[in-house]
Subunit: 272 residues, 2 copies
């Protein structure tokens, strides 16, 4: 059972986890260094807890205390109740979802541990947009991908915006970072995965012809919006695959392309 | 060859087409009433012209005159050159793409005309988010859907944000509005289309089992983010179809779901 504490001083050190939430650069440094991430809104907070993340504290406006009563009763983390104006002053924005939680980060698993049990893996290279990361995790979870591997320069899946866009899927899909890039892909290949590089390039194999749904272990590689996969990443793949496009159209956005490719890899098994 | 006119008065009536661009409610009323829409950025302006839309005028900062020189030489519409500060004052935002054009709207075709030549049609119900409309048009174009039909309350595909997110696909995919809803679907059915209603409902047929890529004429119905299709719209369909989801996940976002469904309808023809 948590202690419920009403605070009215924006400089109260107990609010430190929640300061300056709109300063992306600041939070991007601070959160991993301080071992925390922010879950926003009732649903996302519940999903983070269900996934096993420990709560450091919760920040609520008074009217959210009842909605979160069961969590408050179960969890010993302190609950700070503040006026919405104070929440806005501390965080830098109007917290319209009414509830924030500071959650404890866990060390990421090694890639080898993630690969041991997975059969359908997403590999992202340089996806540094939090919205795209979140959208890709959401689709990966929905369409049954088992795990995600990130190149060292991918954005943080636990950043507030990624978490929100993913609808909490960043908690349920296991992920790891590859320390070396693209050398880290060797371990994926050695674990028996066929590496498929997704590209709009016209010389690539249409993804339906590659028939990834019939492969035993597949790692689907995706690059960032705009640039796509680097040439050296593509060279590390077994095969380049593309989504067949109508003539004269540039490409799908990365979220749409990822969803289609996940479908082709996991669920795209039309009856012959 | 256009006249190039330098303007420095924000109240100059020649700038009227570009005033208050950030006021969505205002522009939503004004643009259809005044028979115009705004194309933003060099690429989108070029695509609008290629699609046959006439230009009423162009608004440029001085450094964009060279980049648009060929358009200026070809097109008689006046070109207003303004300082970036003035552009911001008139439009309400910092026009970082540097070039805006006011284009003439054309009357929409009748649904029957659109249906006459199409075999793969998207039908949207109550999709009133400009970003979603744009994203769905972009995926529809890329994945080879032939046309779009909109329920009366869908947002305007020619609104600036829709145009931008679609990367100009709203110019290349023919679309029409159904005047009556859902009664207007009768005409789609009478034209020989099989109406498939996309829903996350668990009693729906998995879309791969419905094998829409083997049907002669398919109309794929999509609802808005969150609410999905209304019950009365679903009753008007021949069949309800769903994208198979992993357990415990809510759903795909509407853009991802649309892309997967378009792929299943058009390109999802894995080798048996």
């Amino acid at each position: 059972m948590a202690e419920i504490i009403t605070l009215d001083d924006p400089d109260d050190p107990r609010l430190h986890d929640y300061t300056g939430l709109t300063d992306v650069e600041l939070r991007r440094r601070r959160e991993p260094a301080e071992g925390l991430f922010i879950a926003e809104g009732e649903k996302v907070i519940r999903r983070a807890r269900q996934a096993g993340y420990a709560m450091r504290s919760m920040l609520l406006s008074a009217k959210w205390v009842d909605a979160m009563r069961d969590v408050i009763d179960e969890d010993p983390a302190p609950v700070y109740v503040v006026h919405p104006d104070l929440a806005e002053r501390v965080t830098g924005y109007h917290v319209h979802r009414g509830a924030l939680a500071s959650m404890r980060r866990e060390p990421l698993p090694e890639a080898s541990r993630v690969l041991a049990t997975a059969r359908r893996v997403v590999v992202m290279e340089s996806v540094n947009d939090h919205t795209n990361i979140g959208a890709i995790f959401r689709s990966a979870a929905a369409l049954g991908m088992d795990a995600v591997l990130l190149s060292p320069d991918c954005a943080d899946p636990l950043y507030r915006r990624s978490v929100k866009v993913s609808m909490g899927a960043v908690f349920s899909v296991p992920y790891a970072r590859l320390d070396a890039w693209p050398r880290g892909l060797d371990a994926v290949r050695d674990a028996g995965f066929r590496l498929l590089a997704l590209t709009p390039g016209e010389d690539a194999t249409p993804i339906d012809e590659a028939a990834p749904h019939r492969l035993d272990r597949v790692a689907l590689m995706l690059g960032a919006e705009g640039d796509g996969l680097t040439e050296r990443a593509m060279r590390a793949a077994h095969e380049r695959v593309r989504i067949p496009m109508a003539h004269g159209v540039d490409s799908l956005n990365v979220g749409a392309a990822a969803a289609v490719a996940f479908y082709a890899v996991t669920a795209g098994r039309p009856q012959p």
